[in-house]
């Protein structure tokens, strides 16, 4: 049946190259199998752009993910990079291990809000705490896309009042958590904000430490809010023409462009509204308490603060603190990892 071929999607324009002399196309991955209009695809595009523009050496990149629609994305960019699609919620530990083995690599992880906020929140907490050098992107759609639209712990994104069992729970603010726990680069953006997302990604590529980027990324198929009049559930029950539960309509990408310091309203595919507030140009992201205030104040107005929320440029990262030799542990020759016989003799003598 379906087979994801490793062949790249042809690049739109030709022959423009970056500082490594590479074309944009070399940063692409396999063809996406996500729904048309899914925010995740837009994020994939920005990752490709950012790596291309920053002249990232794809051979030095490790891609990671958990399980979910979002977690499939790493197959859709950087075909020249090794990737590890792990199990649900466990990407942080797998990425940590890989970086322990080879600290010279650049880690780029993609997770979902369910993958990170539900089953994976324990590993998320400890990843943030360690400040491991990694770009950790949450493709945040407030639902479980791949299992067909259940609410995730960040549910509420742009949605109206919802009924049912879990929906009254407050959303987890992954930015506030990341900051609280020790991540040294915390940002939020929107999948449709090309300019902002690209610049955040480029800044993250330049930062050493945990870059936690929460990207609001609409799921066009499962915005299953009973309170939303254009939702999937509504269509299922009320739509006079559709009447089919397995139909996935094609959607156009949503895109926005708005000024620093301003607020914009985005109408989602399901008709709900999202309010984004971009941090002003004079916002100082190195003041943690101010960053907390920003998050709380915008949240209390029902808005999402976007931009680089917090950054601590010089914070020591986990790998540095471990103080390993310069050669990646993965490639140490035997004589550096097997002590000489004299050492065993010494140990044996002590035990005699």
């Amino acid at each position: 049946m379906s087979t994801e071929t490793p062949s790249s999607v042809p690049a739109p324009a030709a022959s423009k190259t970056n500082r490594l002399g590479l074309e944009l196309a070399t940063y692409r991955g396999s063809k996406t199998t996500l729904c048309a209009g899914c925010g995740h695809n837009a994020i994939t595009e920005r990752i490709i752009d950012a790596c291309y523009q920053m002249g990232v050496d794809a051979k030095k990149v490790l891609k990671f993910s958990g399980i979910g629609c979002s977690s499939k994305s790493p197959a859709y960019f950087l075909n020249a990079s090794h990737g590890f699609n792990s199990v649900h919620g466990r990407m942080p530990s797998v990425a940590t291990g890989a970086m322990l083995a080879n600290k010279t690599m650049t880690a780029l992880g993609v997770s979902g809000d369910g993958d990170t906020g539900a089953i994976g929140v324990g590993q998320f907490v400890h990843l943030m705490r360690r400040n491991l050098p990694i770009i950790y992107i949450i493709e945040d759609n407030g639902c479980y896309g791949l299992t067909k639209g259940q609410f995730s712990p960040t549910a509420d994104v742009g949605s109206k009042a919802k009924k049912g069992v879990v929906n009254e729970l407050p959303p987890i603010d992954t930015c506030a958590m990341a900051m609280e726990l020790g991540a040294s680069f915390v940002a939020r953006s929107f999948s449709g904000d090309k300019k902002q997302l690209l610049s955040i990604l480029k800044a993250a590529i330049a930062h050493r430490g945990t870059c936690m980027i929460d990207v609001i990324s609409p799921c066009v198929t499962f915005n299953d809010h009973e309170g939303s009049t254009k939702s999937y559930a509504y269509a299922k029950d009320h739509d006079e023409e559709l009447g089919e539960v397995t139909f996935v309509p094609f959607f156009e990408d949503i895109s926005v462009d708005y000024e620093p310091g301003s607020t914009t309203e985005v109408t989602m595919h399901d008709g709900s509204h999202l309010f984004l507030k971009k941090t002003a140009e004079d916002y100082n992201p190195t003041d943690k308490l101010a960053a907390h205030r920003l998050l709380h104040e915008t949240a209390s107005r029902g808005e999402f603060a976007t931009g680089i929320i917090y950054i601590e440029p010089d914070k020591e990262d986990f790998l540095t603190s471990l103080n390993t030799v310069d050669i990646p542990l993965a490639f140490l020759p035997t004589d550096q990892v097997r002590p000489p016989k004299a050492v065993l003799d010494e140990l044996m003598d002590e035990l005699k």
Binding site: M1, S2, T33, L34, C35, A36, I67, C69, K72, V87, H88, G89, A118, I119, V121, Y144, G145, L146, T147, K148, Q150, F151, P153, G164, V165, V166, T221, H238, D239, E240, E241, L242, G243, E244, V245, T246, F247, V248, P249
Partner: protein, 612 residues
Amino acid sequence: MSSPSVSAAPAESLSSHHVVNDFSISVATVNGSGSQTANLVLLRAIFQMGVPISGKNMFPSNIAGLPTWYTIRVNHKGYIGRKRDVDFLVAMNAETAREDVMSLAPGRVVLYDAPLKLSELRDDLIFYSVPFDEIVRDVCPNAKLRRLVKNMIYDGVLSHLLSIDLGEMVKALSAQLGRKPKAMALNQTALEAGAKYAQEHFADIAHPYRIQRMNKTEGQILVDGNAAAAMGCMFAGCTVVAWYPITPSSSLPESLISYMRKYRMDQETGKATFAIVQAEDEIAALGMVMGASWAGARAMTSTSGPGVSLMSELAGLAYYAEVPAVVFDIQRVGPSTGLPTRTAQSDILSTAVHSHGDTKHVLLLPASMAECFDMAGDAFDLSERLQTIVYVMSDLDLGMNTWMSEPFTYPTKPLDRGKVLDEAKTRELGASWGRYKDEDGDGIPWRSVPDGPGPAYFTRGSGHNAMAQYSERAEDYVSNLDRLAKKYETAKGLVPQPIEDSVAGAKVGIIAYGSSHWAVEESRDQLRDTSALPTSYLRVRAYPFPDSVEDFVRRHDRVYVVEQNRDAQMLSLCRMDLDPALQTRLRSVLHYSGLPIDAGSITESIVAQEKS
């Protein structure tokens, strides 16, 4: 078709006469294109005509854009297992069309979307080309909906080609869309347009496959196993549900939510006699179930392989601290993430010995819709009676596919809440009560539930004596573990007993379980009719094995254990548990392609092994 089976289909050519009520249809589309209504209408129309059918969906593990096959089997004898070969292909998906066509046996039929030009591929098939885009343009002014409406057109075409009464199609459609007049009207128009097109263009061709009215489905229902199990849970008095979404399990708790909200909630006050919580993961889901069961609720969760793996540590606590818990495992193809949308019976062995230390669990093995319903009730009763975790080992084929069934029987047996101290028993036992004491010689102790009349005790997964006190004494540990082993012996008499269909004089036996049942039944007929091999059959419905399993093996020279996994997992349990002297009689029939097992594969395997 690119997937249906591991081995190639025998190149048997179709004779020129009609095949009536005995063929398979495969509709190849792209998922997310909305073919479900069309496929269900087709299925239901045939069902309404009294002809036995089954419908199996082979869908990809994504949301939209990848190939999907919906296969319908029509069989006048009532065989509803998967048929390996496709007789009638509806080719709507450009991506797989070529491969799908190439895999057909000669003489088979292809209905295809005209631009695919499939008739050029082979000359030994019957092709019907339909210009769906042209037809849909006429019936559906809203361009956005056309992709969807195309599907109903193939139903219309099929009604003509297969002699399905168009009225039954319309009736089936209105069962689905009756409450949505606009959708109903649009789809009916499409249906009729398809039928009309076929009448006009294919009237002069002899159509090899036909549906003819019978009376074999009267009174029956069409349902999927997850819905059946959900109903079972509701009627079993389940009060607490904790779950985490996972394919192919999610529709069980999701169906349960709908049923419970409708029938177990006061429609005015919204007050519910249940609590359903979407947990943060499967570990939390089982933790909640155990907490709730411990505190006296009937609690369950539903998951699939990866979730079961995560539950391993808590499963050991349930076993050792003797806390009831009901876990549905809707098995899918492993290892690891595997093929989430394919079926298997491959969690059997690891679940039977789930968790570290010496643990042994009770597994129930439903094979039908009625058993998905009934065994939900059994699971709660057994779990409370035995004070342990009970797994209901369903699978994707049962859980998510559409099956015919007799209507379910209303359960009249009172709920068995097990040995829970009530006022009288509390008084009777007095100070001699010990939470882990074998009062009755069956290994099952008396349980005190918080807020009930019994005394308080401290529940722990660490060493404890009969009085539930912390203990590291070797004697306490051994006697407790021996009692647990005795309780497991007791379970053998309480679990659903095997069902035997023995044929006088048969030297060959078959042991099977769960969704393999239907293919086994059909294979037995094949073995009898074409290989002159009469077989007896024991369908195991639970683990640990009641004694009758060993008896059955003893009464046959050779016994084939048929199952849907690579590692012969049920056979392994037989090897572990049954008389060593009988082991040479046991043989294995395995199927692990991710597609439901089919009769032909079983028959071939047994015939081959009988010869060798």
